[in-house]
């Protein structure tokens, strides 16, 4: 407002230099980003290509968008079913994770007791065990209760897999909430449970959403357990994808379309959770 009345500022040499440097940095960042984006672009592009274009030795960089591959993938095979299985498994395990996770994380964050740290770190240490190292006993355990081939086996495994992450993240979010806010609610006469539902939960909702998105992403992308624990009717999307690759025919355009369908929801989730991504990926260690 007042700046309009001033003469236009003369950029000093140093300012000019800073601007040029910024331009160089932005250019470099653009090139790097494009390099990381290129394969993704190629996948999505191929998903829109006809069968012949996909095999063309001289690749075309731009194609006319044709959603044919997507509808074929979704209708002509079991892939649609696989997607819905994935959706169910990922969503259900995420819900379980949040319920169990919050019920562990809240007392851990709020109640003073000895050994609290040990419990938290024991839970964290579960993250270090390679899944491959426990898959055989888990497989045998789930088989002995007749759950192999059922989607519930995956729900159980994914809940277990994501629970340490959930506990650590939620514990951090609860700890970030000033205890005074809850204490005010106690003083106002609400009990712990009432306070948790009425005060704590709404105030930590963004944390819950971010945690849920991450749990969902990890469950959605998981392959090792899904490959071993599912049967023909209960394949998840990543497992379903592998079946497109047969020695007889490899329809890359359809595979890429299916791949795009697998990746798309996760991208949306990741972009939505961007603000909490670092925190989530480091189990709350870096904010």
């Amino acid at each position: 407002m007042t700046s309009a009345t001033l003469p236009p500022p003369r950029p000093t040499r140093r300012l000019l230099r800073a601007r040029i440097l910024t331009l160089i940095r932005a250019g470099a960042a653009l090139i790097v980003s494009l390099m990381f984006f290129a394969p993704i672009y190629w996948m999505v592009l191929t998903a829109f290509k006809s069968g012949n274009e996909a095999f063309n030795a001289t690749p075309s960089l731009i194609v006319w968008p044709d959603f044919g591959n997507f509808s074929l993938v979704l209708t002509q095979s079991n892939f649609g079913l696989a997607l819905s299985t994935s959706l169910f498994v990922a969503t259900t395990s995420t819900v379980f994770c949040l319920i169990l996770g919050a019920s562990i994380a809240y007392p851990l964050a709020r109640i003073k007791m000895r050994g609290q740290k040990h419990i938290a770190f024991w839970i964290l240490s579960l993250r270090i065990i390679p899944p491959i190292a426990v898959i055989i006993p888990l497989f045998l355990l789930l088989r002995s209760v007749g759950l192999t081939g059922s989607i519930w086996s995956l729900v159980i495994v994914y809940t277990y897999m994501n629970l340490p992450l959930t506990v650590w993240l939620l514990r951090g979010f609860f700890a970030d909430l000033p205890a005074e806010i809850e204490e005010a609610s106690f003083v106002d006469g609400a009990g712990r449970f009432r306070t948790f539902i009425g005060v704590t939960l709404p105030l930590t909702a963004p944390g819950f959403i971010a945690t849920a998105l991450l749990c969902f992403i990890f469950a959605w992308n998981e392959f090792l357990f899904a490959n071993i624990l599912t049967g023909a009717a209960t394949r998840t999307a990543p497992v379903g994808l592998t079946e497109y690759v047969t020695p007889v025919s490899v329809e890359w355009n359809k595979i890429m379309a299916a791949g795009t369908l697998v990746v798309l929801p996760v991208w949306i989730g990741a972009l939505a959770a961007q603000r909490y991504l670092v925190r989530g990926l480091t189990l709350g260690a870096v904010k």
């Binding site: 007042t2 700046s3 001033l6 003469p7 500022p9 003369r10 000093t12 040499r13 140093r14 800073a18």
Partner: protein, 416 residues
């Protein structure tokens, strides 16, 4: 390192009259988001001077200091340090030292390493660094703490280390941005004196930023009062107090703040009418060429006395509504039936307070005044009393702009 640099040829913006320590010439600062933090700042700081930048929050003091340090790039104008145009130099090349409000100690280095760092950067030898660090550590009483990390120091000790890091290398200027604001009151007063003594001893040009007018008055050789990015006045503390350039400066300097109210200047400025009382102005206090009409009047709380004498010959009848004891003196609060001055022309914080203290009946025109009186006066709340002052201590400001028309006559004692 007595780097009295020669004045380079071809650098025209250098004042030739006296050795300028630091020179701001038409410095403008508009941030990327459109905030204008400095408007055409012109300021010449003499070599070896201790200058304080003061003003309310957001007035641009830190910005001015950061531009001087090279941490921020001005959008216009030039900066010269010891005659050298440094506008286009980064902070690395300006040879200045800075004490940050947060101290900005390197948390991963010991006190010794913190103090040694600027010297190490300059490629000094190990022995020379050791001597210099030992000297500074002695000066500031840090010798016992050299192997500690900043995390293991108290606030006051950290502050000393921050000072030490600036002192260790004989810079062309010291810059300090509210260096004492994180200390408790007693320590702050102690460090205030210590910084002044250090300055006297080293004689290095120092620019000190604070929002505390008491700190500004007690520390500065000269004080620059900023408001909304504009320099209001650059003067010695006593002159700021007695001869403020405008009502803003008058209201910012002094505690308790100056009493301000609307008044009416008579024809030929023979008298000024405050709340119905015509106060005749002696010839020496008349303002040449000032047309009659509304003005704003200012009287410092210290200007009042409870008894009449040669220096206090104008009376005002008041009814105290609050009396605060300071021990030897009383702060006597009262309302006078005159309109308040426009908030926009005073230092914002204080006018906000005076608004809150207005009585509930908004239609009643009244303004709050404070008198600082000798405790012997024995005035009581609700009992009518008389206070005395002199026209020598009256200040008048132009109604439209707040510019000073009549400053108080010099030689008033400083407030505590």
């Amino acid at each position: 390192m007595t780097a009295h640099s020669s004045i380079k040829e071809g650098t025209p913006r250098v004042s030739k009259t006296k050795a300028a320590g630091i020179e701001f010439s038409a410095v403008n600062m508009t941030f990327a988001d459109g905030t204008t933090a400095l408007k055409s700042l012109d300021l010449v700081i003499e070599e070896g001077e201790f200058v304080v930048f003061v003003g309310p929050s957001g007035c641009g003091k830190s910005t001015a200091l950061r531009i001087l340090a090279g941490l921020e790039q001005a959008t216009g104008g030039t900066i010269a340090i010891k005659g050298r145009d440094v506008t286009d130099l980064g902070p690395q090349h300006r040879d200045i030292a800075m004490v940050f409000q947060s101290y900005a100690l390197y948390p991963h280095k010991t006190v010794y390493e913190n103090l040694a760092y600027p010297l190490k950067i300059r490629g000094l030898g190990k022995a020379a660094i050791e001597t210099a660090v030992a000297g500074v550590a002695d000066l500031l009483g840090l010798a016992a703490l050299l192997q500690r990390k900043p995390g293991a120091l108290s606030g006051g000790q950290r502050q000393r280390v921050a000072m030490g890091r600036a002192l260790v290398r004989n810079p062309k200027a010291f810059l300090m941005d509210e260096p004492l604001s994180n200390l408790d009151a007693a320590l702050r007063v102690e460090m205030r004196g210590e910084i002044r003594r250090l300055h006297r001893r080293l004689g290095v040009t120092t620019v000190y930023v604070t929002h505390d007018q008491v700190e500004a008055m007690t520390m500065g050789d000269r004080v620059a009062v900023l408001r909304g990015g504009e320099l209001q006045q650059f003067d010695a503390p006593q002159r700021l107090y007695e001869q403020p350039a405008n009502m803003f400066v008058a209201s910012f300097i002094g505690s308790p703040a100056i009493n301000l109210a609307m008044a009416e200047l008579g024809a030929g400025s023979a008298a000024v009418t405050l709340a119905g009382n015509a106060i005749p102005l002696p010839p020496s206090r008349r303002v040449e060429g000032q047309s009659a009409g509304p003005v704003m009047i200012g009287i410092r709380p210290e200007a009042f006395s409870y008894r009449r004498d040669l220096e206090h010959d104008v009376s005002l009848t008041i009814t105290p509504d609050l009396i605060e004891s300071l021990g030897a003196e009383l702060l006597v609060h009262f309302a006078i039936p005159a309109a308040s001055v426009p908030v926009a022309l005073t230092s914002s914080a204080k006018s906000a307070v005076s608004q809150i203290s207005l009585p509930g009946n908004a239609r009643e025109v009244s303004t709050r005044f404070v008198a600082k009186l000798d405790a012997r006066c024995a005035y009581a709340v609700g009992q009518e009393a008389t206070v005395w002052f002199s026209t020598d201590h009256l200040m008048l400001f132009e109604a439209a702009t707040g510019r000073t028309i009549l400053a108080s006559a010099p030689m008033l004692k400083l407030p505590v």
